[in-house]
Symmetry: C2
Subunit: 208 residues, 2 copies
Amino acid sequence: MARRDFHPEEHPFGPAVGRLVNRLADLPGVGRKSAERLANHLVSCSKREALELADAIRDVKERVHRCQRCFNLTDGELCPICRDSRRDAAVVCVVEQPRDVASLEATGVFQGVYHVLGGRLAPLEGITPGDLTIDSLVERVRNQGVRELVMATNPTLEGDGTALFITNLLEGSGVKITRLARGIATGSVLEFANREMLADALRGRQSF
Amino acid sequence: MARRDFHPEEHPFGPAVGRLVNRLADLPGVGRKSAERLANHLVSCSKREALELADAIRDVKERVHRCQRCFNLTDGELCPICRDSRRDAAVVCVVEQPRDVASLEATGVFQGVYHVLGGRLAPLEGITPGDLTIDSLVERVRNQGVRELVMATNPTLEGDGTALFITNLLEGSGVKITRLARGIATGSVLEFANREMLADALRGRQSF
């Protein structure tokens, strides 16, 4: 017997809570039961805590947009990374999405700046160079003293294809183009590595 | 190498997103990584979808309060269950918290109404009868033609103690007092019981 879900108008706490449960259940990775629990929390927590969350959501929708230079997300004119004078603006890491910037930043390893393409080339879905920020990237390379591009598109057929397209486009520009190392993931188990991962790891083997 | 958490002012998407991540990570059961993913979704989803969530949170804080009769949550004067003329107002199920009402309603088995105590007696924590809605319950029994009280406090020492206290208080009032069948495990919490367990417990309720 499955647990019954409440239509918002029939929620035992009334439609206001019912609507909140539905909105929360729309979020990725949030099921009905989690949505009920979150709604219960928001009903019973302090008004201040709940309104801070509501305001933070509103704030993000009203203020966050694309960085003028790198197309990362930001609430300023330039994003925090482009604004940071300690970053090396001559080394540009090319990623598909802003969330990739966040993932790479979380490592604390990269000291350069980024360029967010806004996706990857996918001819079958009709996503062509004009849909991405490739023109702006070429312009940055030509006119803003970029020394190295680090390709960090996803290691998929389409991500690799996009990186290759850009590499061809910039042939003769003199910029050094690298890509993220391919191999086995630290903490993983060889036994479960797939053929591509192991082949990459073998081809790219490094001196100990 | 552990993933680095961003201070809100240092978030790579700027402080507005950083604050939203922090607010989301304050929610129960939402870790840093989930909070980042939810914030990414809220940044990239339609403005309408995000503001509907923000408004639903605000709405709940501004409009939801206790039902005047049973102390369940509601955005009306009475809660949807007390308002429903098809429910048998002579059979009152006594629970600790509004979330218990939601759990019992999800079974679809109970046709009576509720009384939310607002907690359970816990002398060691200083929670005494005056802290709960026991006076109102006694008043309902005495003056509103209640035929049966179904005790559905949590099956814990304190929940059982609270049910026993109320039973003693109403001795001689003529009301029939039952309790949920022990299909529910002693020491567990009603909120997490599944629908089968709760439905069996309702059907098999026994004289106190």
